[in-house]
Amino acid sequence: MDHLDQLEAQSIYIFREAFARLKKIALLWSLGKDSNVMIWLARKAFFGRLPFPALHVDTGKKFPEMYRFRDHYGKEWELDLRVEPCPPIDAVDPTLPPAARSAARKTEGLKMALAKYGFDGLIAGIRRDEEATRAKERVFSPRGLEGNWDVRDQPPEFWDHFNASPPQGAHLRIHPILHWTEADIWAYTKRENIPIIPLYLSQNGKRYRSLGDQDITNPVNSTASNIDEILAELEQTKVPERAGRALDHETEDAFERLRVAGYL
């Protein structure tokens, strides 16, 4: 087994545990490179199907290429796709810095979707290497009744034994690709020939390394116009993956505050 085989087998194991141990789960599809790999892995785990809904919590501010991608592959992959809207900006905590406040709409949209469907598990494509607070996550991460994350009181999780009994009305976040890196995602996307949104590839000397809402995501300087070139670039770069995400840079703990409140 090579490195990608090991990552794949571990993710499949996590998917199957989530499906076996929770009653009502959904997969959060943000349309980016990570969640596309995640859907691919889920179809491997369940022999071609996604036996639960794919949820797109839509801020309405994604790039047109992302919406086109969603509509096309949602059909082609036969997903049970649920698109859920987010509340307007006035409904969000005004003490947050502007970009974080904008991003927090997604947290609120997520809460509304949870209330609407009563999911007890949400599968999310976060990775430890993306961001420092995500590095502290569990694979099965309990959330409070408000969707909040209590980082001081995370249950022990060892030897691939996961805590899967959320209290009534609360839910779990399940993270099947927590152990992957950005380069793993690209190497696997290439190996499995998984479709991607073209915004990740260089045009006019710039490309997106991480896709979010249009108003708070910026491209980085890059000449990488295919996956091999992206991988070569990642070998060299010292620019963090989320450098183009405005909300990470507003205050020292902006992202942590969002995550504790339930953001991905």
């Binding site: 087994m1 090579d2 490195h3 990608l4 085989d5 090991q6 794949e8 087998a9 499949i12 194991y13 199957r16 545990e17 076996a20 491997k44 785990a45 369940f46 022999f47 071609g48 199907r49 036996p51 430890r128 290497d129 993306e130 420092a132 607070t133 590095a135 502290k136 569990r138 980082v151 001081r152 995370q154 249950p155 022990p156 999780e157 060892f158 030897w159 034994h161 805590n163 009994s165 890196t181 950005e182 380069a183 793993d184 190497a187 696997y188 190996r191 991988l231 070569a232 990642l234 070998e235 060299q236 770069t237 010292k238 620019v239 963090p240 993956e241 989320r242 020292e252 703990d253 942590e256």
Partner: protein
């Protein structure tokens, strides 16, 4: 972490991979874990642009000197309190491999996070503050590493700058931690003096530690082995689920050990039903050809319809796991409420879930304070051995036979509260202690240790006949008694004359002889005495049993006098008789003595006087926490 780290991944564009090793960093709080990690990232050129400047700014904003640990202690709470709360993972490269560093917090209350991190590791770095030395938490972490099966431990003695880079101070700490780890059966791969803050010994040797000739931290990490392949063990495929999305009925799970291929005859345990693997299914291409090995998540179809459940284990018929309703496990306990006899639990062995009852608590100990042993309950962050009975039969292996299937976790109220290793299945064949109520001593261990100025211990002298065990044992007994202690000699021959007079010299009888010696010695040790056992005890396995029984109280001394000299001495005439063929089953002539590999002390009596040897033993008992240097104030313990 977002400062990931050039180059980021073992998966290179051309598909080749470098070995990846996962390493956990553990140790007492404030001994410098985060600082070491920050320094390692810096020295290996793994910090992203701007990170150093950001750290300087963060430190300046708090009015503090530059602090490497801010790199890891990303959470606001952690920065404010100056401690690491949870595990985090960072990657970097050495010359030969990719390293995933797992940083685990040192606070006792976050032991669950340390275990979460360490359970995923191939090796560990145990960090000790040169000024403070070995602390409770250091010992606790050492014990838990051992329990989690992490065998490769590199010890780092940090903050050498605070002790003027003293080689003597380094040696004292080395000896103490070596004795502790050896006592657990763990041999440190290296013990390295460093100053993480300044970089001495991390990636480079500096003049300040010029007296040290061993590896740097980076070199020690380079020498750790990646995880051992599990394919060579018998097949174990725990069933996660049965899927029937179409006309196929797919048994899905991850191969924990061994391998399988279509056509194999298999058995479903614990039911024992036999079938043949028809296909190995996959997506997008199916079926898959070729052998599938340990680590793969697979789906198989069978040649007949059988009732199979989540938690069953698919194995090959000739090497199936044992079915049992009773097992003994060595566990660590993380829940606030102590685990007691009679408690009802939920036990998980892989995907198998079973209700269980604690039938007996065989042992309970705080691995941070080796002395205090209680038997009624296992407290939070303590370890122990328990017998449990299960409401339904499960298939499992002792962890010595299969590290993947021989482990379990315990759930309380839907949350993992403990976990551990399966020591043996069918523990129930022993007497069920329903009508046996052990009577406790009227005295607490600390009352005795305050009087004797030592903790209870089992000092086990092993070696060839006539190597000098009994002579040494008696000298030690006299020495300890003169100092006000309570030593008790258990000589192998003496006990064979009475307690063990029903035993012969077959392998089974010899094992039983050792077991009884160990039980008696352990009973004495638990009551505060130092039991000095002098017995040839030739079989390594029997001595391992004795160590298991006496647990942290055990100190093994190999009396390693050369065989020729032993035969020359021959005080009881045994060698002579054996040579003449009139003494059967004599250890020494037939070379069936298995020398210890990790004794706490090795003594050759041909090069030492009895007094010198007794000095060495006394010193070892001091550094390994049995003998107290100073008079203990009993009032302080109340």
């Amino acid at each position: 972490m977002n400062m990931i780290v050039t180059p980021a991944s073992p998966a290179t564009p051309n598909g080749t991979t470098r070995p990846q090793v996962r390493i956990v960093i553990v140790g007492h709080v404030d001994h410098g874990k985060s600082t070491l990690v920050g320094r390692l990232l810096h020295e290996t050129g793994s910090l992203p642009d701007g990170k150093l400047e950001m750290l300087k700014a963060v430190s300046a904003r708090r009015g503090m000197p530059f602090e490497w640990s801010f790199l890891l202690d990303a959470l606001q709470t952690e920065r404010d309190q100056g401690i690491t709360i949870d595990t985090t993972q960072i990657r970097f490269r050495t010359n030969s491999r990719d390293i995933v560093l797992i940083d685990a917090p040192g606070h006792a209350e976050f032991l669950r996070n340390m275990i979460t991190g360490a359970s995923q590791a191939d090796g560990a770095v145990l960090i000790i503050d040169a000024l403070e030395g070995v602390r409770d938490q250091t010992r606790r972490h050492g014990y838990l590493l051992h329990l989690l099966g992490v065998k490769q431990v590199a010890v780092v003695v940090n903050k050498m700058d605070r002790v003027d880079f003293s080689a003597d101070r380094f040696k004292a700490i080395s000896d103490e931690i070596s004795a502790h780890l050896n006592g657990l059966g763990v041999t440190p791969t290296a013990i390295i003096p460093i100053s993480a803050r300044d970089g001495d010994g991390v990636a480079e040797h500096t003049d300040r530690i010029g007296w040290y000739k061993g590896p740097t931290v980076v070199e020690a990490l380079d020498a750790l082995e990646p995880a051992r392949p599990l394919e060579a063990l018998p097949l174990r495929l725990p069933v996660q689920a049965i899927y029937k999305f179409d006309d196929r009925r797919i048994v899905a799970g991850r191969i924990e050990s061994g391998s399988l291929i279509a056509g194999d005859e298999i058995v479903i345990m614990p039911a024992g039903k036999i079938a043949r693997i028809k296909t190995v299914e996959s997506w997008p291409l199916t079926p898959v050809a070729g052998r599938q090995g340990a680590g793969r998540s697979v789906g198989i179809t069978l040649d007949r319809e059988l009732f199979i459940e989540r938690g069953d284990i698919v194995a090959h018929a000739s090497s199936a796991p044992r079915e049992t309703r009773r097992l003994r496990a060595r566990i660590f306990w993380l829940h606030e409420k102590p685990l007691a006899k009679g408690d009802q639990l939920l036990v998980r062995c892989g995907p198998k879930e079973s209700r269980a009852t604690v039938v007996a608590i065989e042992k309970a100990v705080d691995p941070g304070e080796l002395s205090s042993v209680e038997n009624k309950a296992i407290g939070r962050n303590h370890v122990g051995e328990i017998d449990i009975s299960l409401s339904s039969p499960i298939a499992t292996d002792p962890y010595t036979e299969n590290p993947r299937t021989g482990r379990l976790v315990i759930e309380v109220s839907g949350r993992i509260a403990g976990g551990g290793l399966v020591l043996s299945v069918e523990a129930g064949q022993r007497a069920v202690p329903v009508d046996i109520v052990p009577v406790e001593s009227a005295l607490r261990p600390d009352e005795r240790s305050a009087r004797y100025r030592h903790n209870g211990a089992v000092v086990w002298l092993t070696g060839l006949p006539a190597s000098g065990k009994s002579t040494l044992a008696k000298a030690l007994e006299r020495r300890l008694f003169t100092n006000g202690g309570s030593p008790i000699l258990l000589d192998g021959d003496t006990l064979r004359a009475g307690l063990n007079s029903d035993l012969g010299f077959s392998a089974a009888d010899r094992s039983e002889n050792i077991r009884r010696l160990a039980e008696v010695a352990t009973h004495l040790a638990r009551n505060g005495h130092i039991a000095i056992v002098a017995a040839v005890s030739p079989a390594r396995e029997d001595r391992a049993t004795a160590r298991r029984i006496a647990d942290t109280a055990f100190r093994e001394i190999h009396v390693a006098t050369p065989a020729g000299i032993c035969e020359e001495r021959d005080p009881k005439g045994h060698y002579k008789k054996a040579r003449a063929g009139t003494l059967q089953s004599f250890t020494g002539i037939l070379n069936d003595y298995e020398a210890p590999q990790a004794a706490e002390l090795v003594i050759d009596t041909s090069t030492r006087t009895v007094a010198e040897a007794a000095d060495e033993i006394e010193q070892m008992l001091k550094t390994s926490g049995v003998l107290f240097d100073e008079v203990v104030d009993l009032a302080a313990n109340i």
